[in-house]
C-alpha cells in the first residue's frame, strides 16, 4: 500500500507520486463526505472560530478523521488561513511538508521552490519528469472532457467540475483513474448535445454548494467553464517544457492580472454570456470581485457560500433574477 499524504490545495503532485505517495486532496474528502458538517464541527470544538472559512475547518476535520499522518501545507500562494491550519495540525502530531507558490511569480523562483520540494522528498528531476509525462496522459484526457463540455455541449457543468477537480489527486490511483476517464469519454461521445439558452462560466474557488449546477440548468442555463477546477487539472501542462513551467503557468495561486488574461481568453473561446463568481464567506477572495468586475466586460454575479452544501433561498432568487434578464438579452440578439 502506498503511503497517504494529504493536500490542502494543489501542489506539484508529480513529486509526491515519484516519491511513492498516494496524494489525497483533503478538500475532496471533506466536501464529498456525508459527514461534512461533522468535520466542521470537529474543528470548531477544537477552537477554530465561527468566523472562519468552512473549507479550512472542513479540511481540518477531514484530516483528523481519515487518519492522515502527513500533509503538504502551502505556506505561500494559497490562503493565509492555511498557515494557521498547518500549525494546529502539527500540534496534533501530523507531519507537515511545506510548499510555496512564490508571490513574485517568476519562473526562477518557482524553480527554486520546486527543487526544494524535490529535495525534501529525495527525488531527481529526471524521475519527476517521467512521472509528469505519465500524468500528462491523464491531463490530456481531462482536457478532452473539458472540450466535450464547451465545444460539443455533451458534458454538464457538474460532471465537468468533478472530472477536472479529481485531477488534484487522481482519485487516489493513477491507473484506475485513467481507465475511468477513458470509459467516461467513450460514453460521453455517444451522447446528444445538451443545448441550453445561457452559457455561464463558474469562477472562484470550487463551491461548497454543488447543487448550483443543477439549479442553473433548471433555469435553462449551464456552466461551460469551471475556472479553478480546470486550473487544478493543468490543461496547459502538456505543452509545458518541464515541471517548473507547468507550475509557473498556473493562475490559481498568483496575482489577479495573470488570472484575468486567462479568464478573458476562456470567455471568448467558450462564448460565455455571463459569469458566476463564487466566493466563500470570510475569504479574502471576495475582495477580488471588485477587480474582476472592473476588468471583465461581461455580467458577473457574485454569490457567497458558507457552511451549507446547498444553495439558500436568497441565492436562488438572485440567480433566477440574473439568468432571467440574461435570457432576455440573448433573445434580443
Amino acid at each position: 500500500m502506498l503511503k497517504k499524504i494529504g493536500l490542502t490545495t494543489t501542489v506539484p503532485v508529480e513529486v509526491l507520486v515519484t516519491a511513492g505517495y498516494s496524494p489525497v486532496d483533503l478538500n475532496n474528502i471533506f466536501i464529498t463526505s456525508e459527514d461534512y458538517l461533522k468535520y466542521i464541527d470537529i474543528a470548531e470544538r477544537d477552537g477554530f472560530p465561527k468566523s472562519l472559512c468552512a473549507w479550512i475547518k472542513g479540511i481540518y476535520g477531514a484530516c483528523l478523521e481519515n487518519d492522515i499522518k502527513e500533509i503538504v501545507g502551502v505556506v505561500e500562494g494559497d490562503c493565509s488561513n492555511t498557515r494557521a491550519l498547518i500549525e494546529v495540525l502539527q500540534l496534533k502530531g501530523i507531519k507537515v511538508y511545506p510548499f510555496s507558490f512564490p508571490h513574485s511569480h517568476n519562473l526562477k523562483d518557482v524553480e527554486i521552490e520546486i527543487r526544494k520540494f524535490m529535495n525534501i522528498f529525495n527525488v531527481t528531476e529526471e524521475s519527476v519528469e517521467q512521472t509528469r509525462q505519465r500524468l500528462n496522459k491523464l491531463r490530456e484526457l481531462a482536457k478532452e472532457i473539458d472540450e466535450l463540455t464547451y465545444l460539443e455541449n455533451k458534458v454538464n457543468g457538474f460532471e465537468n467540475h468533478i472530472y477536472q477537480i479529481s485531477l488534484s489527486d487522481f482519485n487516489g490511483n493513477v491507473d484506475n483513474f485513467e481507465n475511468s476517464l477513458k470509459d467516461a469519454i467513450s460514453e460521453i461521445k455517444q451522447r446528444k448535445p445538451i443545448n441550453r439558452k445561457v452559457r455561464l462560466g463558474y469562477i472562484g474557488v470550487p463551491p461548497m454548494t454543488g447543487d448550483i449546477y443543477e439549479f442553473v440548468e433548471s433555469l435553462d442555463a449551464h456552466f461551460v467553464y469551471n475556472e479553478v477546477q480546470r486550473e487544478f487539472a493543468f490543461p496547459r501542462a502538456i505543452t509545458a517544457k518541464n515541471i517548473f513551467e507547468q507550475y509557473y503557468d498556473y493562475t490559481y495561486p498568483y496575482n489577479t492580472t495573470f488570472r484575468i488574461n486567462e479568464l478573458k481568453k476562456q470567455i471568448e473561446e467558450r462564448k460565455i454570456d455571463a459569469i458566476i463568481h463564487y466566493t466563500q464567506a470570510f475569504c479574502y477572495r471576495a475582495v477580488e470581485d471588485i477587480v474582476l468586475k472592473k476588468q471583465l466586460d461581461i455580467p458577473i454575479l457574485n454569490i457567497e457560500g458558507d457552511k451549507l452544501n446547498v444553495l439558500d433561498a436568497r441565492t436562488k432568487l438572485r440567480l433566477e433574477a440574473f439568468i432571467d434578464m440574461l435570457s432576455d438579452l440573448k433573445e434580443a440578439n
Binding site: 461581461i298 433574477a321 432571467d324 438579452l329
Partner: protein, 255 residues
C-alpha cells in the same frame, strides 16, 4: 410599433402605451374598476382593449405584484422585479444602480450591474416599512400625504417597529403637545429607519427611487447621506408599466 404595458397593482392598475420608444398614453384605473368594467373572464382574464380607448396595439406585456399578478389573456407576463428594473433603465438610461421601490404594500431593493439584476431584497411581510404606513399615519394626523412628506427637520422619536404600535405612539406624542411639524418629520424618519437595514446590504453610488415614496421629500433628504446621488424618476407610479413596454419593445420575440 405600439406596445401596451400594464402593471396590476393592489389598488390601481397602471397603463402605459409606448410607440417608437416614446410614451404616448398613461392612465390609472382603480383595480376594482379595472376588473369590473374593463375585463371579462373566460378561463383567463380578458382585457377589453376597446373600452380602454388606447387604439391599436401590437404587443401587450403585463406585470403585477403577488396575487394581483393575474394572468391576462394575450398578454406576456413578466415578473415585477424585471419590470421595475427595465422601467428604471428606460427612465434614467443608467446600467448600474440601486433601485429602491417602496410601494403601497411592499418594499423592493434591487441592485443592477451592467444592466442586469445581481442582488435583491424583498420585504413583503411588514406594513410598517411601506407606503400604506405613511398613509395611515397621515390619516391619524389629518394631513395630506404631500404635506406630511415635506417635513424632515427635528423628527420626534417613534421607536416602535410595528405599524399598529406606532399609531398609539404617535397619538401619545400628539397628546404631549409635540408640534405637528415634528410629528410629520417623525413619521417620515421612522419609515426611513426601517428602510435602512434593508439598504445596508446595498451600498453603491446611485440610488434610484421609485414607487410612491419617490415623491416623499423627507425620505429623499435622509437618504442623501447614504448615497452620493439620489435619482428620482419622473413617473414613479408608472415605473412597472413603463418597464413592461420597454421589455415588449426590446426583448419580446414575435411568435
Amino acid at each position: 410599433m405600439r406596445i401596451l404595458g400594464i402593471d396590476l397593482g393592489s389598488r390601481e392598475v397602471k397603463i402605459v402605451v409606448m410607440e417608437k420608444d416614446k410614451i404616448v398614453i398613461k392612465k390609472k384605473i382603480s383595480t376594482m374598476k379595472f376588473y369590473r368594467d374593463y375585463c371579462s373572464f373566460d378561463g383567463k382574464v380578458i382585457v377589453d382593449l376597446g373600452k380602454l380607448d388606447i387604439g391599436e396595439i401590437d404587443r401587450a406585456v403585463s406585470t403585477g405584484y403577488g396575487k394581483n399578478n393575474t394572468n391576462l389573456k394575450l398578454f406576456t407576463q413578466i415578473n415585477e422585479i424585471k419590470a421595475h428594473v427595465y422601467g428604471a433603465m428606460y427612465q434614467t438610461g443608467l446600467k448600474d444602480f440601486i433601485l429602491l421601490d417602496v410601494g403601497g404594500q411592499d418594499v423592493k431593493v434591487i441592485k443592477v450591474e451592467k444592466g442586469i439584476t445581481t442582488d435583491l431584497e424583498l420585504n413583503e411581510k411588514c406594513a410598517a416599512s411601506c407606503g400604506r404606513y405613511l398613509e395611515n399615519m397621515a390619516n391619524v394626523l389629518e394631513v395630506s400625504l404631500d404635506e406630511m412628506s415635506k417635513h424632515y427637520k427635528d423628527p420626534v422619536e417613534l421607536n416602535s417597529t410595528c405599524a399598529v404600535f406606532s399609531e398609539s405612539e404617535l397619538i401619545g406624542s400628539i397628546a404631549e403637545g409635540v408640534s405637528v411639524e415634528k410629528l410629520y418629520a417623525g413619521v417620515n424618519y421612522s419609515l426611513y429607519k426601517r428602510l435602512r437595514p434593508l439598504l445596508s446590504k446595498f451600498k453603491g453610488k446611485q440610488l434610484i427611487l421609485a414607487g410612491g415614496v419617490a415623491n416623499n421629500l423627507a425620505i429623499r433628504e435622509y437618504l442623501q447621506n447614504d448615497y452620493s446621488e439620489i435619482i428620482s424618476i419622473e413617473e414613479p407610479q408608472f415605473n412597472g408599466a413603463i418597464g413592461c413596454c420597454y421589455y415588449g419593445s426590446r426583448f419580446l420575440r414575435e411568435d
